[in-house]
């Protein structure tokens, strides 16, 4: 079980790997599309990598609800419970 801080740090690493964005830029209130300029293809890559890293399943229909980094952290945290 990862804490929310650990999930955020793990997500930041995945986003950095995919987009080159600095991990510090990946903050809870940041929007994936508006703030981090992540397109749908990169978003799907990030989702699949997060599933592997945290051992969860993020259904495709759920991805559109993950607007901010915080949304993703909450979903992953809930899915782990």
């Amino acid at each position: 079980m990862a804490s929310n801080e650990e999930i955020l740090a793990g997500l930041a690493e995945i986003v950095n790997e995919e987009t080159g964005l600095a991990p510090e830029a990946v903050e809870l209130d940041k929007s994936f599309t508006e703030d981090l300029d992540i397109d749908s293809i990169s978003m799907m890559t990030i989702v699949v990598n997060a599933e592997e890293k945290f051992g969860v399943r993020i259904p495709d229909e759920e991805v559109k609800n993950l607007k901010t980094v915080g949304d993703a952290v909450s979903f992953i945290s809930g899915a782990q419970a």
Partner: protein, 411 residues
Amino acid sequence: MTRKVVITGLGATTPIGGDVPTMWNNALKGVSGARTLEDDWVAKYELPVHFAARCSTPALEVLSRVEAKRMDPSTQFGVIAAREAWADSGITEFDQDRLAVAFATGIGGVWTLLDAWDTLKEKGPRRVLPMTVPMLMPNGVAAAVSLDLGARAGAHTPVSACASGTEAMHLGLELIRSGKADVVMCGGAEAAIHPMPLAAFASMQALSRRNDDPQGASRPYDTARDGFVMGEGAGALVLEAEEHALARGARIYAELAGTSVTADAYHITAPDPEGLGATRALKAAMFDGRIQAEDVVHVNAHATSTPVGDKPEYTALRAALGAHVDNVAVSATKSQMGHLLGASGAVEAVLTVLAVHERKAPVTINLENQDPEIPLDVVTSARDLPAGSIVALSNSFGFGGHNAVVAIRSV
């Protein structure tokens, strides 16, 4: 009145140089880019061929990691060469709607395709990355170059096996002559040094098996030639309507005087032994460029170093140029860098443009005993080309019976 088309930018990443100046210096010196492959898959799959000619500068030394992640290795090479050619052209302000792309590949995204297949088998469909399709599609390189430059007058990918790069030049010329574009980024890219294509080309007996001497393996016209050496890389050329180039005071390397494409309709892989399709291509390119045999001083030959391929090209050259063929300096540059498949025509066009511009023919290495049935004047040490108006030809032929020729004239 036909629009005159000139060449104003050159780019390349090849086994004998990661940029045009390095490649050209080595091409005049005569070096081999072939090396023994250190990859574990050579032994794992018991490949019969243990060597190839990899690009001397890995793509990841030029592109950022994030940039490279979204491109198949073939597209990475294409974008690197296109960026060099674009910078070299000096074009800064341009109409995006008048800039087209004609960027070829022979095989395309084979690494991406087979990696994704492995992922599917080992990890399931969820792990097959969403970028897989745009990375493996053969037009991926033309699309990436178009996106990179902001080219909006169409992005095309001619595919005709090992004639693809030369066919891209043919298409580029037509796009400018017909008025559909003023500038075309032309080129070819290939990255197929992967165990599957190596096994497949070896299976058809096309590859040299000189495993104990990789650097001596590509030996066009030599009696001991036993197949081609797989290379990789990309070449790129900026074609420009002459009036467009003159209006911006561009440095002009040479004129793309004529091009042609023909098909053998003879056999799916074997060249027509009489070289009839190649002869028609040579004559058509010369007709297109209003070129007389006596104008031609240099040929960059297709000459892959296969036992059956090198001779029909000679037959075709003699048929097209007549007795004048004896006065033509012929270079077989695949002796140095191996066969870059769909990129070879573009890289050899870059070399041919430089040969005309610098008036020097590049070197053919490994020619120890010239095949008596191919009595060409082969350039084995860098040779000066004559002053005055000169023309050079570059030939490419591909599986499928594709023949393509470009004619480059001095300016």
